[in-house]
């Protein structure tokens, strides 16, 4: 079984981010593998293992030919990667990203399953996976906390507020997985060294037949304004006059956290 995993390479969240004049993130520093996608990579490796054969292929759209995030996922055990990187991609919006990723999946050719995270840690629109599925004409299964494959059918547990739904579809399909569902393995040092020589197929907009449909030219959304989040309001204080516990419980119930 062959699994394709969408992996976003994002600016290191532990380093304070900068915005460009056009309201996009400054992506000049070395990016890292989005932690959200490390769960998809781990799940893909486990599924291929369980199937007893096949391989995991990564796809990524990233500026400046960046591969450092891809190398992390290759070191974990993915076999190869397709990297879409080209100045022509600058300014690509979420739909454009989905077009690029869908073309990359077609280029890989033999995918039985595509995994992505439910949302990235930086852009956070949570729209790309379903757009990719739509463009490919494949079923989209979202918010998976568990994924099983048997006899050409994928079965997931779809996280809901109350519990989970069991959802099935035929393959090929696109599945988005939630964070924390599996424990991403630590790449071994041997894996790290092996990743150095694993193939990364670097493709341009022209290679994918997307000239003019992506980048600033193809973007149908634009970010018109960016504003600071409002400063956090001071918390509510309960002096304990014997009823504080009840008040706190009521407060937490209001927030639906208990």
């Amino acid at each position: 079984m062959n699994v394709v995993v969408c992996v976003k390479q994002i600016p290191d969240p532990s380093v304070p981010g900068q915005l460009e004049a056009d309201h996009t993130l400054d992506r000049s520093a070395k990016p890292i593998l989005d932690e959200s996608d490390s769960f998809g990579v781990e799940m893909a490796l486990q599924l291929v293992d369980a199937a007893g054969g096949g391989e995991v292929t990564l796809i990524s759209l990233a500026p400046n030919g960046e591969v450092s995030g891809l190398r992390t996922a290759l070191a974990m055990g993915a076999a190869k990667a397709v990297l879409a990187s080209d100045d022509a991609f600058a300014g690509t919006d979420a739909l454009g990203t989905a077009k690029v990723l869908a073309k990359c999946i077609e280029r890989v050719g033999d995918a039985d399953l595509v995994l992505a995270a439910t949302e990235s840690s930086d852009g956070y629109t949570g729209t790309v996976p379903v757009q990719v599925a739509e463009l490919l004409g494949w079923p989209a299964l979202t918010f998976a906390k568990k994924v099983d494959i048997a006899d050409g059918v994928v079965t997931i547990q779809r996280q809901t507020e109350a519990g989970y739904d069991v959802v099935q579809s035929s393959l090929p399909a696109v599945v988005s997985v939630t964070a924390g569902v599996v424990e991403p393995r630590y790449p071994s040092f041997k894996g790290i060294m092996a990743a150095k020589s694993k193939p990364v197929d670097n493709v341009t907009a022209a290679d994918l037949g997307l000239d003019g449909q992506v980048g600033w030219a193809g973007a149908r959304q634009s970010i018109v304004k960016v504003e600071q989040a409002p400063a956090r309001l001071a918390g509510e204080k309960f002096e304990d006059d014997g009823t504080a516990a009840e008040k706190i419980v009521a407060f937490l119930e209001d927030l639906k956290v208990i």
């Binding site: 190398r71 070191a75 393995r185 790449p187 071994s188 041997k190 790290i192 060294m193």
Partner: protein, 388 residues
């Protein structure tokens, strides 16, 4: 100026390859996720978390710098980075990896027969077999050449008698590398710890390196075949070359421990207020931090250059002596100063500082005391040996 620049003030990590950087990040994540939450409890209890051994092995850390036999073949710098990141967690964690890789696997890899390498190294790299290294004796520490443990030939066998003390992992090890006097001089032996006559005991009540098992073992007519002797280990060069490998790891490890203290002290100083302002705003605190930052940056420079020399094949034992002596001194001074900045919290295991500080007392002593390395450098400078 942010936290990253404090622990890497001269941007030395820019010298790392992409692979070395990924190794650094991986071990850092492992230490943060798996080690930090449990270290204080293990330190308190005087135990090493053996359940982490399979993961340490999966990371490829056991024998990381050796080639073949299931080992990863890392560059000197990568090996150093691994030690630095592990000791940022605790000197006991780095010691575990150093003893297994540099003191136990290295002598088999370097001085062992092909059969010995095949038999032991893959299982030691996988963490299935834990080793310990027996050189120091109750009465012979800095001068191991005068050891009294003896190996006597008896037909095709050897019979070992003696005692070794202050041995990391004695008591949990499956195999001991034992150095002993023979009629032909010092030789090394691979001794499975379940051989009749071998008895190990844990040393209790130590106040340093508590998250690491230290023990002693006795050899009472321990009989092993000639095939368990390391054929290529002849004289004191055998154990000394192992120590040189492990010391190289300490050079980097000390940087990790010192940096952890520096970071903790800076974070504490900026958060803690007295007399109406953060203690970071007092000149005495600033002078302390300036000294610590300079000392630890110097230590980092020594580690990086030593790694380059090792990769060029130009690293001499005296280079390692200088860097071990310098870096452990820098780290222990940094730890002690950091402890003062944390005030009363500086003596609590809630913070990493006192743990590193007392650990470094062991690191200052083992693998050649500070004084002995001073004599090595003195001899290098003058050509006159002053050991005896």
């Amino acid at each position: 100026m942010g936290p990253t620049s404090l622990t890497d003030f001269y941007a030395l990590d820019d010298l790392l390859s992409n692979e070395e950087r990924l190794l650094r990040d991986t071990i850092r994540r492992f230490v943060d996720d798996k080690w930090m939450p449990i270290v204080a409890d293990h330190f308190d209890a005087g135990t090493f978390p053996m359940d982490l051994v399979p993961q340490i092995a999966d990371l490829g850390l056991l024998g990381i710098h050796l080639d073949g036999y299931g080992c990863a073949g890392a560059s000197a710098t990568a090996y150093g980075i691994a030690c630095r990141e592990l000791e940022r967690g605790d000197s006991g964690l780095r010691s575990f990896v150093s003893v297994q890789g540099s003191l136990c696997m290295f002598p088999i890899w370097k001085f062992g027969s092909e059969e010995q390498k095949q038999e032991w190294l893959p299982r030691m790299a996988a963490g299935e077999i834990i080793g310990c290294f027996g050189l120091t004796e109750p009465d012979h520490g800095s001068d191991p050449g005068s050891m009294t443990t003896r190996a006597r030939k008896d037909g095709d066998d050897w019979i070992l008698n003696g005692a070794k003390r202050w041995i990391t992992n004695a008591g949990i090890a499956h195999v001991a590398i034992v150095w002993a006097q023979t009629d032909e001089g010092i030789r090394g032996f691979i001794v499975p710890t379940d051989t009749p006559g071998f008895e190990a005991r844990k040393i209790e009540k130590k106040l340093s390196l508590r998250a690491s098992v230290t023990g002693e073992f006795y050899l009472d007519d321990v009989r092993i075949p000639e095939s368990f002797r390391l054929p290529e280990a002849v004289g004191m060069k055998g154990p000394l070359s192992c120590l040189s490998e492990a010391r190289y790891g300490i050079v980097w490890g000390a940087v990790g421990a010192g940096m952890a203290c520096l970071e903790a002290a800076r974070d504490y100083a900026t958060g803690r207020e007295q007399f109406g302002k953060p203690i970071a705003g007092f000149q005495i605190t600033q002078a302390k931090l300036a000294e610590m930052l300079t000392d630890m940056t110097n230590a980092s420079l020594q580690a990086f250059r030593l790694g380059q020399l090792k990769e060029l094949g130009r690293c001499e034992p005296a280079h390692v002596s200088m860097a071990k002596r310098h870096n452990v001194r820098a780290a222990i001074d940094t730890a002690r100063t950091a402890r003062t900045i944390l005030g009363a919290n500086g003596i609590s295991l809630e913070y990493p500082v006192i743990r590193h500080m007392v650990n470094l007392e062991s690191v200052l002593t083992y693998e050649g005391t500070e004084e002995i390395h001073t004599l090595v450098l003195g001899e290098t400078a003058t050509g006159v040996a002053a050991y005896r």
